[in-house]
């Protein structure tokens, strides 16, 4: 078992972080805003943590003190929120694919900045980021509470007035205005909450990955995060959580499958060399068979109903 955790500890934590990143894309999507800015805030959070922990905080001892980590999280929350509001107010007037592209542009501009600035370590990035834990699996102490808190938050959010307002905007922005809903306020709200979540995951990831550079949080990531939500299901928060976990684990599951002994040789070869071919294929298949995502509100209802019977 301990062997399992050392091999897959990293993956398990990655899956949880993937789930949270899924939520960070899901939040703006609740109000119909297809924002792909999450990787940008993720990168930002990572840089904040990397810079603070390698250049600002001084500490003695073997492990990076958790209070410092808390400080990084706090600071990232504030910076992400401020940036998200400043960015959100002009950008969220855009709709659909236009918004998506504007946010991609934002992410790219951040990336180029990181490549050109000294403080971000240019292409090499920042390395030797200190560790708050002895082993990777212990990062669960951070990741799980963050996931659970976000899930409770979203669970409640979907039940209440605010959630309904977000859904109304998603359905028909114009009509929602005529129903007295202040679209700008709610759109910026959901965008900001998503940005904060992404930033927080960035902080954890920077420590978790030992290093941070401009390859973290790029355009590819934007689309992968979006896939978390859409394949998982974009109508309930459970969707992105499941989607984030499955899609993060998928390439590694394929790796493990390729390693199982007793497979016929060509198949084993294909599983290994064609890992990403299969990944691509599964994404297409997943989209076809779960056009509404794997988890839908109806499915949840059915499950709940079965339980209560």
């Amino acid at each position: 078992m301990s062997n399992f955790f050392t091999t897959y500890g990293f993956l398990i934590v990655s899956m949880i972080l993937g789930a949270i990143l899924g939520l960070s894309v899901y939040l703006p999507l609740m109000s119909g805003q297809l924002s792909l800015a999450s990787p940008g805030f993720y990168a930002l959070g990572g840089y904040i943590a990397a810079i603070l922990s390698t250049q600002v905080f001084k500490y003695t001892g073997d492990l990076f003190p958790l209070p410092f980590l808390g400080l990084e999280l706090l600071l990232t929350t504030v910076i992400s929120a401020v940036l998200a509001i400043l960015l959100g107010i002009p950008v969220l007037r855009l709709r659909g694919i236009y918004l998506a592209i504007a946010t991609i542009a934002f992410v790219e501009i951040l990336r180029i900045l990181a490549l050109n600035l000294d403080i971000t370590g240019a292409a090499v990035g920042i390395f030797a980021i200190p560790q708050p834990f002895h082993s990777q699996i212990e990062y669960l102490w951070l990741a799980i509470p963050l996931l659970i808190l976000s899930m409770i938050f979203l669970y409640r959010l979907e039940q209440i007035r605010v959630g309904r307002a977000l859904r109304a905007i998603r359905e028909d922005e114009l009509a929602s205005g005529a129903m007295g809903i202040d679209q700008t306020y709610y759109k910026v709200l959901s965008f900001t909450l998503g940005a904060i979540l992404a930033g927080l995951v960035g902080v954890i990831s920077a420590h978790f990955l030992n290093t941070w550079n401009a390859r973290q949080g790029t355009f590819d990531a934007s689309i992968i995060f979006l896939a978390f939500v859409l394949i998982g299901g974009s109508k309930t928060f459970v969707g992105p959580v499941i989607g984030g976990m499955i899609l993060t684990a998928l390439p590694e599951v394929l790796r493990a499958m390729a390693g199982t002994s007793g497979l016929p040789l060509p198949l084993a070869n294909f599983l290994r060399d064609g890992r990403l071919i299969i990944f691509g294929f599964l994404i297409v298949i997943g989209s076809i068979f779960y056009p509404q995502g794997i988890i839908t509100p109806e499915l949840l209802k059915r499950i709940r109903w079965k339980k209560s019977v």
Partner: protein, 316 residues
């Protein structure tokens, strides 16, 4: 600025821009009909270049399952270009049938096609890698016959050089633009395409078979993509399976700048970004990449419909 230098940079901008434009034409075409971005376009662009490479008799390298393979026959470049582009068009149709049509029929969130087309792109790119490796493939330098590699538009002392391949790319984009514009604006096919673009159900009530037009659009887009991939590949070589994917992101910028789904917009957008990049001061060359995105960002805030796009009216 010295006029010759200015002219040189201007021509550079046009030539870089025409590469963006030729990529973006097929990209924006699909958007104009289905209102969705086809992320697999970059992969089909790449694939077209590989097809033509093999059709003119090229051999594969050593790093793939098809190591050291070669077709038993070969075609002249012009014919290979045509055939390769047709093959790319057929692949585009397959992508449409597998990754787009089922979603359309099942009434999926249209965003999901972003994801499924990305899946198709991942699939194609990695299949290429598995088969022919990540090596760089290059077209022989005699494919354009005896044309000089570059033409001097200036004097001997003050040269203004333009690479011939780039001129070809520029001309082909201009020609493609003209043909597409005519097709869409002045023919019955174009009108029907626009009807399909707006509402497939209504189109079918008018006797239009939307599926036929969607397939046609994908074929055309794949054909143009394949051709573009070959031409660009002949200019800068096929730098591995990710070759076309790297254009995808900037291509997105290009088509939004010009106006999403707007055919001339794709060309104008490409040229503008090319020009803007070529006039970045030397000291800021590190920020060149950011230029297209900064332009795009500002454009979206000021005029979201793009330079040539028409504002979407919404009557209540």
């Amino acid at each position: 600025m010295d006029f010759n230098i200015f002219l040189q940079q201007f021509l550079n901008g046009l030539s870089v821009g025409s590469v963006y434009a030729i990529f973006a034409l097929g990209y924006t075409l699909v958007f104009s009909i289905l209102g969705i971005i086809n992320f697999a376009h970059g992969a089909i662009f790449t694939l077209g270049a590989y097809f033509v490479y093999f059709l003119i008799g090229g051999a594969s390298g050593f790093n793939g399952w098809l190591s050291n393979a070669q077709l038993p026959f070969s075609f002249p470049f012009a014919i290979a270009l045509l055939l390769g582009s047709v093959l790319a068009g057929l692949v585009a149709i397959i992508v449409e049938r597998l990754a787009f049509k089922p979603l359309r029929e099942r009434g999926a969130d249209s965003l999901l096609t972003l994801v499924s087309s990305l899946g198709a792109a991942v699939f194609i790119v990695n299949l290429i890698q598995l088969l022919v490796g990540a090596e760089i493939y290059t077209f022989p330098d005699n494919i354009y016959g005896n044309l000089p590699v570059a033409i001097n538009l200036g004097t001997v002392e003050k040269p203004v050089m333009v690479r011939t391949v780039q001129i070809i790319i520029f001309l082909v984009s201009a020609l493609t633009l003209a043909v597409l514009t005519y097709l869409i604006n002045s023919t019955k096919i174009g009108k029907a395409l626009q009807a399909v673009a707006e509402d497939t159900t209504t189109a079918s009530l008018l006797g239009i078979n939307p599926e036929k037009y969607i397939v046609f659009t994908f074929f055309l887009s794949g054909f143009l993509g394949g051709m573009a991939g070959t031409l660009v590949g002949s200019s800068v070589s096929i730098a591995g399976p990710y070759f076309g994917i790297t254009f995808g992101l900037k291509g997105l910028g290009v088509i939004v700048l010009g106006g999403l789904g707007n055919i001339p917009g794709a060309v104008i957008g490409g040229l503008i970004i090319g020009l803007a990049e070529s006039f970045v001061p030397t000291d800021y060359s590190g920020y060149r990449e950011a230029i297209s995105f900064a332009l795009l960002f500002i454009m979206l805030l000021v005029r979201p419909q793009g330079l040539l796009g028409r504002k979407r009216i919404q009557k209540v």
